[in-house]
């Protein structure tokens, strides 16, 4: 199946937070019964705010208390409800880590944690950066970890989550992110990576907001005669290890790109697979280094740390030149 991406079009933006809430509204209108918990950061004018206004009896505000929100979400789930819990950026994994681990995952409850403002997309500096969450999530049993590439894919993940068993986290960016997919006419299966562009010189494996930049880098590489495969690794756990092995077998090297620390996230997960696979694939990780981020606009920070189109392309060219 040929997947149409914004690679072929002008950059278009959309907002995964709004998309999530609009899909929640659609599901409520279709008769699905579920609860929604949130914190004191949901604007009345947002899509989630409108959902709350329309369905107040199923919405619970926990103020500025993420531990309590996540634990109580587990309790609501224990009463027999699917729960969508929208929590701001780092305050989900860092403040409520124990509640995610013990209340939601150890008790194996159908809570869908919607972690907003992934990576550095919130702006505002390291207190509002969310660069360590995947490292935590990957190590918690029972937890399925989804990082949609764009708003349209977020809708697919939210819809899939209704019939999916067990706990899940859906990690989305702040909003107004570029679309990766020009059409929603493609298959989205949890745990199965999507090859959005074929190539054999190198594989660029991205997750979340980094998928778009991987795609743009592949475009730049084409001009230099380098054929880059682009993989959308939207599910971090369970990881599609077969897709990684295919990249190792069929292309000249692998680069992972993520808006997360290079420790513990997608890059680490792929490195683990490659080391055990043992075919000596050339490999590099692009992500946030082991430092608290410099201060600036998120797009500038991406450029600073090499997550933008030209930086990824340059890194790919260097990797291609390396002898195996």
């Amino acid at each position: 199946m040929i997947i149409q991406t914004t690679f072929d079009f002008d950059m278009m933006f959309s907002n995964a937070r709004d998309a999530f809430a609009e899909e929640m509204t659609a599901m409520a209108e279709e008769g699905y019964d579920f609860a929604f918990t949130y914190s004191d950061n949901v604007a009345p004018s947002s899509a989630a705010g409108k959902f709350i206004n329309k369905y107040p009896e199923r919405c619970f505000n926990f103020g500025i208390a993420e531990q309590n929100q996540v634990a109580a979400s587990a309790g609501i789930a224990l009463s027999g409800q699917i729960v969508f819990a929208q929590v701001f950026g780092p305050f989900l994994p860092l403040r409520a880590a124990d509640m995610i681990h013990t209340d939601v995952c150890y008790n194996d409850l159908p809570v869908r944690l919607i972690g907003t403002h992934s990576g550095v997309t919130a702006g505002g500096g390291p207190t509002h950066n969310n660069i360590a969450d995947l490292a935590l999530y990957r190590a918690i049993p029972n937890l399925t970890v989804i990082v949609p590439a764009d708003a349209g894919q977020c809708i697919k993940a939210v819809r899939e989550s209704i019939a999916y068993s067990g706990p899940m986290v859906i990690r989305i960016a702040r909003g107004d992110e570029p679309n990766v997919y020009a059409s929603q006419d493609y298959d989205f299966n949890i745990g199965k990576a999507i090859q959005i562009k074929d190539g054999d010189d190198i594989s660029l494996i991205g997750t979340g907001s980094a998928v778009y930049w991987a795609l743009m880098a592949s475009k730049a590489l084409e001009a230099d005669g380098i054929s880059a495969r682009v993989i959308d690794m939207h599910t971090i756990k369970p990881l599609d290890t077969e897709a990684i092995k295919r990249c190792a077998d069929e292309t000249g090297g692998i680069i992972t790109i993520e808006d997360h620390s290079i420790y513990g996230g997608l890059g680490s997960a792929v490195a683990e697979v490659l080391c055990e696979y043992g075919n000596g694939t050339k490999f590099a990780r692009i992500g946030m280094p082991d430092e608290f981020s410099v201060l600036g606009d998120p797009s500038e920070i991406y450029h600073y740390y090499g997550l933008d189109q030209s930086s990824i392309a340059e890194r790919a060219k260097k990797l291609c030149k390396l002898k195996r």
Binding site: A71, A72, G75, I76, S79, M99, T102
Partner: protein
């Protein structure tokens, strides 16, 4: 419905069975397990809508034991209610892939356990959600949660206490097993939580202080009060002043008896203490 004298006899039996259970499995938290016996017995044998032959009954009242390290008290009650034999529980206690029971309770293996617990400061926040979920779905069952007093050091409880008051959770009841000791010393010295009743009331709770939480008549009076006040707009807290290690001379108010097993000679003394007190009580 069991009368108070029958509940007292049940508590006497549970205490003895609990001690034998801990002796056989070689581990437990006897201090806190003995202090909560009267509260747990009153709930399971009289005040909760509960059918031991159908522990997942839809309209059952829910009890979360937040001080999950004291699960053996509940296991002993489950055994007395006919849900599991004592031998079965011993044979499946922390036995790796055949384990069903552990020091900290796991709902995956024991139907009667509502929430897998162990880490402190979790039961009350989850109970708030459980009660909210029940209200949302129009269920009229009640949610009970038993916490320790040392456990209230955990800030997560206070977020939950705030939310329960905010949401006027009138079908939520917290019982604080206030035995006055935490692992390394008196609660008032380690991290004082008093005046607990005033703090809870300031957070929008209706509180009932039980002077002697190991006196069955007083415990029952507290739950009668709770039942009579459910129509209000407040969650209720029963602050039960209990004695850690209640009933065993060398354990009572002794910090040393927070966790661990019990030797045969100690078991014999402990059982003798409990039987002697029971016999003495019947002579009055």
């Amino acid at each position: 419905m069991l009368q108070i004298n029958e509940l007292e006899e049940k508590a006497y039996t549970i205490r003895k069975n609990l001690l034998n259970f801990i002796y056989r499995i070689g581990m437990g938290h006897l201090g806190g397990e003995l202090s909560l016996v009267e509260v747990a017995v009153a709930l399971y044998y009289r005040f909760m809508n509960y059918d031991p032959t159908n522990p997942k009954m839809t309209d059952r009242d829910r009890l979360i034991l937040s001080k999950g390290h004291c699960s053996e008290t509940l296991y002993t009650i489950f055994s007395d209610l006919g849900m599991y034999s004592m031998d079965y529980m011993v044979e499946h206690f922390e036995t790796l892939n055949t384990a069903r029971f552990g020091m900290h309770s796991n709902r995956k293996y024991v139907d009667a356990i509502e929430l897998s617990a162990g880490s402190l400061g979790h039961g009350l926040p989850v109970a708030v959600g459980l009660a909210l979920g029940a209200r949302k779905q129009g269920f009229d069952w009640n949610t009970y949660v038993i916490t320790g007093d040392g456990e209230l050091n955990e800030g997560s409880n206070w977020e939950a206490i705030m939310a329960a008051g905010h949401y006027k959770m009138n079908r939520l009841t917290m019982i604080v097993d206030k035995n006055g000791l935490q692992m390394t010393g008196p609660t008032k010295d380690v991290m004082n939580i008093d005046p607990l009743d005033m703090k809870l009331e300031a957070f929008g709770w209706d509180t009932y202080v039980v002077a002697d939480g190991n006196d069955m008549a007083q415990v029952c009076a507290a739950f009668e009060y709770v039942n009579a006040h459910r129509c209000g707009e407040k969650p209720t807290a029963v602050i039960a002043n209990t004695i850690k290690g209640k009933g065993v001379s060398f354990m009572e108010n002794n910090v040393k008896w927070h966790g661990g097993g019990i030797a045969k000679a100690e078991l014999d003394v402990a059982l003798g203490d409990i039987e002697k007190a029971w016999a003495g009580r019947n002579c009055i």
